[in-house]
């Protein structure tokens, strides 16, 4: 069994670590490229949302590299993500790829879920499983920290791409790390290198932008055109509303945390109940960023994303009520880098002028 999985931003490092520690033979998905996207677009339903297309491309590229089993999640709606695996399964089958699926999904009952989990556990002892899980979780926290720090460091880098070099090295270190102290070592070195760059006196003068929206687009660097890097390079501190840790906490029932649920309540005057996906949270995050004094918010969504259309419709009112400028970027296979860059630059220029005016009195 050669197992592969959709690469989801930096989470790929943690997934890879978990599966490897459980003794699986894995085929890490090749990093998403334009080829991945065009494969996905070619075979996926025309009006499906972008993550379905990209992950389909990822599978096919992994299968070309020898994978024969795909690990994927399912869901109970109302967001389309819950039905991805079913559609992708059919497409791959009709294309003649003979692959097995391990779909972690509650909608077919606990028994099915346990069966699939057992396949993943691969006959390992509980101690091994717990150890593997702990290390994977540690790596999730590590990649999140790396990402968060990079966002603060980028505006100060000496030359373009300096921080990305640090990240690349740290990620390579994490891929190789076999225990907690390896991870800590990688992190220590990364912290030291980035802290030399960050000038904390100047941090407050930077234009600050919060990024909210649908989780795949917000967290997958390929899908969002590396928006964090682009913003960092033009001297903006771009913070995400959530990182991989938060997504795991939100979507895996065992990790459910109270204060994440509390935080959503702030959105209730605008969206009264959850509309699936990140719909309601997007509004909560926007309000939170406004209250923290951010200069603007960028709202990312895959084109035609249903929950995010609800939040997009409401966002204008929130923007007025909390006096925070917002920019909605809806991304699909037609979106071009130049278009994104132009809009980002215009938005940042506007925020900068506004900030200057405010500071001047």
């Amino acid at each position: 069994m050669k197992i592969t999985y959709p690469p989801f931003g930096d989470a790929r490092i943690a997934i890879e670590s978990l599966l490897r520690d459980l003794g699986h033979d894995i085929v890490p998905p090749p990093p998403s490229t334009n080829r991945t996207l065009s494969i996905g677009v070619k075979y996926a339903p025309e009006f499906a949302c972008l993550p379905l297309k990209i992950t389909l491309g990822n599978y096919i590229e992994s299968i070309e590299k020898g994978a024969d089993t795909i690990l994927m999640l399912g869901g109970i709606g109302p967001c389309r993500f819950g039905y991805y695996a079913e559609v992708q399964r059919r497409i791959l089958k009709n294309l003649g790829y003979d692959v097995n699926w391990i779909i972690l999904d509650l909608s077919n009952g606990w028994i099915n879920l346990f069966k699939n989990i057992r396949k993943l556990i691969n006959g390992k002892s509980i101690i091994t499983v717990v150890k593997a899980l702990k290390l994977a979780w540690k790596k999730v926290l590590a990649v999140d920290e790396i990402d968060k720090t990079a966002r603060r460091a980028r505006p100060f880098e000496r030359y373009k791409g300096q921080v990305d070099e640090f990240i690349k090295e740290a990620h390579r270190g994490l891929e190789l790390a076999e225990n907690f102290s390896d991870v800590d070592m990688v992190l220590d070195e990364y912290r030291e290198r980035t802290s030399k760059l960050i000038d904390s006196n100047l941090l407050d003068d930077l234009v600050k932008i919060g990024i909210v929206g649908e989780f795949y687009v917000v967290l997958d660097h390929f899908t969002n055109f590396e928006i964090a890097r682009r913003l960092g390079e033009i001297g903006v501190l771009a913070e995400n509303a959530f990182y991989i840790e938060d997504i795991v906490r939100i979507y895996f029932p065992i990790f459910k945390s109270k204060d994440l649920e509390e935080k959503v309540k702030i959105a209730i005057p605008y969206i009264k109940r959850s509309v699936g996906g990140e719909g309601q949270r997007t509004i909560a995050h926007t309000i939170e960023f406004a209250e923290r004094g951010f200069d603007g918010v960028i709202h990312l969504l895959p084109f035609t994303c249903m929950p995010e259309i609800v939040s997009e419709s409401v966002l204008e009112r929130v923007s007025k009520d909390y006096n925070i400028p917002t920019l909605t970027l809806s991304i699909d296979e037609q979106t071009g880098l130049v278009g994104i860059n132009t809009r980002l630059e215009a938005f940042v220029d506007m925020l900068r002028a506004k900030k200057k005016r405010r500071l001047a009195g």
Partner: protein, 325 residues
């Protein structure tokens, strides 16, 4: 008191029930006008450009009711079936309208949630009734009257009458159709003749009988969708898949028209399932018609004529269908 009901989304499915319910409580019911250019333009102006046309139309229809009514009835419909959702935009529609720039009468946005509560329907109507009267038995009476109106309406539909004939008094000729066509789509796309480009009227003129989900027993249709290895979690998705399977399996029609709104999330996947599972394996005659604000009646008529010509020729040379799965 006057309550306005926008002629969008589930209107052609539940209007008789809502009307009977409100009238039993002594509330006057006013439906919005049939979609026209003015409504369409207002909708496109006020709604987010990415939303699907049926959702956008809610804006225009609510504006159409302005100055005519005291309240607009726009329930938040979470689910019509246990453990099954509506599209997220249905869940958020009242929020979208409330937070938009349109100057609309206040909205009655009570929740109807059969997804989480088995008695969600009854509860939804009780909450609704409480806005008009404190007398519980009056609400119950209104609810029962609503239900019987709905039953009667559904019975008429099952005889093959179109909602347009029953509610809007449209006259379709019914003399011995030469071709029968299954229309697989949502009620708010098929029965809004403005956005569908007059599909039903055109089919009728061409001598074809249009069959849609409303004309079959709902439960039977849904049972046909249960064959899917993973249960679809959208009621609409289940209806589309079930209808398509039911009418193909029982050979009730000569061809299928799939009607899809541009940007419809659930349909983008459900359509793929229908095509891959039901249509391609036996090459069943099918065309897909996409609805958006640029649909033109002329383009549609050309396509429908070609499709019906094709079906008639196919019918002449019999033995046309391979066996079902």
């Amino acid at each position: 008191m006057k309550v306005g009901i926008p002629r969008v989304l589930l209107f052609y499915r539940y209007y008789p029930m809502w009307k009977a319910f409100f009238e039993s409580l002594g509330v006057e019911v006013i439906p919005s006008s049939i979609t026209n250019k003015q409504i369409m333009d207002a909708s496109v102006e006020h709604a987010v450009s990415e939303a699907c046309l049926p959702i956008k139309l809610a804006y225009g229809h609510i504006l159409d009711l302005k100055d005519k009514v005291d309240y607009v009835f726009l329930p938040r419909i979470v689910g019509l079936e246990y453990k099954t959702y509506m599209c997220p935009k249905f869940l958020g529609l009242p929020d979208m309208i409330r937070n938009s720039e349109i100057d609309a009468p206040p909205i009655i946005e009570n929740t109807i949630d059969k997804r989480n509560l088995r008695d969600g329907f009854l509860r939804g109507f009780f909450d609704l009734g409480r806005m008009f009267t404190k007398n519980k038995s009056r609400i119950l009476k209104a609810y029962l009257e609503g239900l019987s109106a709905l039953k009667e309406y559904n019975k008429k539909l099952e005889t093959g009458a179109s909602p347009l004939e029953i509610i809007d008094g449209e006259k379709f000729k019914n003399d011995d159709p030469k071709i029968r066509i299954g229309i697989v789509g949502h009620c708010y796309e098929i029965y809004d003749e403005f956005i569908s480009g007059g599909m039903l009227r055109t089919l009728n003129k061409l001598g074809a009988k249009a069959l849609s989900m409303e004309m079959f027993d709902w439960k039977t249709i849904l049972k046909d969708a249960d064959v899917l290895p993973k249960r679809l979690f959208w009621t609409f998705g289940r209806e589309l898949y079930g209808t398509a399977r039911y009418i193909i399996r029982n050979r009730l029609v000569d061809g299928i028209i799939l009607v899809v709104a541009f940007g419809c999330g659930p349909d983008s996947l459900v359509r793929e399932l229908i095509e891959r599972d039901l249509i391609k394996p036996i090459n069943f005659p099918e065309i897909t018609i996409t609805i958006d604000e640029h649909s033109s009646e002329l383009g549609l008529v050309t396509r429908l004529e070609a499709f019906i010509d094709m079906l008639s020729r196919r019918k002449q040379s019999e033995n046309n269908l391979s066996t079902v799965w």
